[in-house]
């Protein structure tokens, strides 16, 4: 049970409450749920099984991190470097995710201190902007965002140093039920908003209509399917390497089929049932559809941090402070269970390959995240945070999932892979999934990757057939070329703005080099670890020969 809760805690994160409802609103409302659930069944579930199976298989051979788990499944040396994604992604995501998590910690404190009480929506919005710009703190804590980032990191590192069973599972066992309870309370409040009461301008039904009314014309749009697939990745934490790491500590006959299904569906419950009942109904109830439409363009974060404290304090200073504290507490629990999971692959790697003890391994993770995360804190307004999120939290997940799926189904072999999935299973796995894992999941992943590489302008996929294909600035290729910033520089005449954009260009490129540097560094460590293994095997062989000669 502890492992399922830890796995579900790993999957349930800030995206369940902040990202899913915004994605649904932007991509067809109720109709979004069709591609979303299809992607869950043919991509999410198979990837969960594949990753659990790979992790347990690697664990049987004493590997607890992806480089050598993948290495044990494929004969080519390349696979262990593909496995580097499973460590790199976690460290890089933790670098910005811990900062995001620290906002929730700070907002919890401000909710209790009544900072948001009596403020207008503009004040709350400005509070957030000032916070991320490292402006003066309203409570006198110098460099408040840095302070909370460090506190958050210390907390994560300390829990990790207590170990997987004692630390992570304990937090998940307490955190997950609390999170669901917080969620149910806030969902109840969200679903019972009445126009005219406590400052609400609409009933909750208006928000629910806004979220759930199906736009049937969007069901077949590839852009909507890409968004649904992306959301499944984000929410299930597949393609990261954390699942492999957790599963590698399981015993050889432990069930993985039912555990994966259970953790996956628990995540869906928190996302669809609770996540769908809070953000949009509450925001529409107090701000109206036009304002929410405007805010969803900024993504879920804008809506979550810039508006919700204002909405909660419409319920009065006491209930407002309590609800706001609960909401950010809920986000904090969702965040910390995920960020803790991100530390385990790096720690497993150091412990396996370099015989590090748990505590120094945990503190080295904290140190790396501090170094890598500080630019996201200091240069947030220059897009460093978004840059990390894009390359590690979006692109890398798809690339790694695609490669591991090919390894599992085509290199390792589906016959052996299927035995791994079904061994010790407490659930009869439908045989149709053999076909899905071999053909459908890789094809869908390839389509998601290629679609993201060449995303057309305005989501107009028909343009390819008409011959007037133009790539959107959100496509991977245009993003790599910094087309959006270059276009802005070209049309701006204000010298100060041009300088700002050029600074942004510098920080964006620098953050990419930083991420690339980390990847190369981990590749170097994997190379050294491999050499150590080869030398160790050689020494063992030599001593065996020596023994035989003596005999």
């Amino acid at each position: 049970m502890g492992l399922i809760l830890a796995m579900a805690g790993n999957a349930v994160g800030l995206g369940n409450f902040l990202r899913f409802p915004v994605q649904a609103v932007q991509n067809g409302g109720g109709a979004f749920i069709i591609p979303y659930l299809v992607c869950f069944l043919v991509m999410g579930i198979p990837l969960l099984w594949v990753e659990w199976a790979m992790g347990r298989f690697g664990g049987k051979q004493g590997h607890h991190s992806t480089p050598f788990i993948l290495d044990s499944m494929g004969k080519r040396a390349l696979w262990k470097y593909v496995g580097v994604f499973g460590i790199w992604t976690n460290i890089a995501i933790a670098a910005y995710y811990c900062y995001l998590e620290s906002w929730t910690l700070s907002y919890m404190m401000h909710s209790l201190l009544g900072t948001f009480s009596g403020q207008t929506q503009e004040d709350i919005s400005n509070f957030f902007s000032q916070y991320v710009s490292l402006g003066p703190s309203s409570v006198g804590i110098p460099y408040e965002p840095i302070f909370f980032f460090v506190v958050c990191l210390l907390l994560n590192t300390w829990i990790l140093s207590k170990g997987l069973m004692a630390g992570v599972e304990k937090v998940a066992k307490v955190g997950m039920p609390l999170l669901i309870l917080f969620g149910i309370f806030l969902a109840y409040k969200g679903l019972t908003i009445t126009a005219g009461e406590a400052g609400a301008i609409h009933d909750s039904s208006v928000g629910l209509n806004f979220l759930w009314t199906p736009q049937y014309d969007k069901i077949l749009s590839p852009t909507v399917w890409l968004a649904a697939a992306g959301q499944i990745f984000f929410t299930l934490a597949v393609g990261m390497g954390t699942i492999h790491c957790y599963a590698s500590y399981m015993k050889s006959r432990d069930d993985i089929a039912l555990n994966a299904m259970s953790a996956g569906w628990m995540n869906e419950f928190v996302e669809v049932v609770l996540g769908g009942a809070i953000l949009i109904p509450v925001a529409v109830g107090y701000l109206g559809i036009d304002k929410v439409n405007e805010l969803v363009q900024l993504g879920g974060l804008g809506l979550g941090f810039k508006t919700l404290p204002y909405l909660f304090f419409q319920w009065g200073p006491i209930l407002g402070a309590f609800s706001s504290f609960l909401w950010f507490g809920l986000l904090f629990f969702a965040g910390i269970t995920s960020s803790l999971a991100m530390g385990t692959p790096w720690m497993g790697f150091l412990q396996d390959e370099f015989n590090w003890k748990r505590k120094p391994a945990a503190w080295s993770f904290g140190g790396l995240v501090l170094l890598l995360g500080m630019p996201t804190v200091l240069f947030f307004n220059y897009g460093v945070f978004d840059e990390y999120d894009y390359w590690t939290g979006t692109v890398a997940l798809v690339v790694f999932a695609l490669l591991e799926c090919i390894l599992f189904a085509w290199v390792f072999g589906l016959g052996k892979g299927w035995r791994e999935i079904t061994e010790g299973a407490d659930l009869k796995v439908p045989r149709v999934y053999r076909f899905i894992i071999r053909w459908v999941t890789p094809a869908l992943l390839l389509w998601v990757f290629v679609g993201s590489l060449f995303t057309p302008k305005g989501g107009d996929w028909g343009a390819y057939l008409r011959g007037d294909w133009e790539m959107d600035n959100s496509s991977i290729i245009k993003k790599l070329m910094n087309s959006s910033i270059h276009e802005k520089i070209a049309v701006t005449t204000d010298l100060t703005q041009i300088q700002q954009l050029q600074d942004q260009l510098f920080y964006v490129n620098a953050s990419r080099f930083l991420l690339l540097g980390l990847f190369v560094f981990i590749c170097g460590l994997v190379f050294v670890a491999h050499q150590r293994r080869v030398a160790l095997a050689k020494r063992k062989q030599e001593s065996e020969i020596l023994e035989l000669t003596k005999v």
Binding site: L208, P214, D255, S262
Partner: protein, 49 residues
């Protein structure tokens, strides 16, 4: 709420909630597995002779 939105919402919530409860209850009902001594993870788990 309009009928289409209500139908989509109720079907989705019903489906997701029932699947979650179904798999979670299945996990709770599964009896704990017993392992032969040689499959146990650490030496500490092996009963002393």
């Amino acid at each position: 709420m309009n009928t289409a939105a209500l139908a989509f919402m109720l079907i989705t919530l019903g489906l997701v909630t029932s699947m979650t409860l179904y798999f979670f209850s299945k996990v709770l009902k599964v009896p704990p597995k017993t392992y032969p001594v040689d499959l146990q993870e650490t030496a500490a788990d092996v009963p002393e002779k």
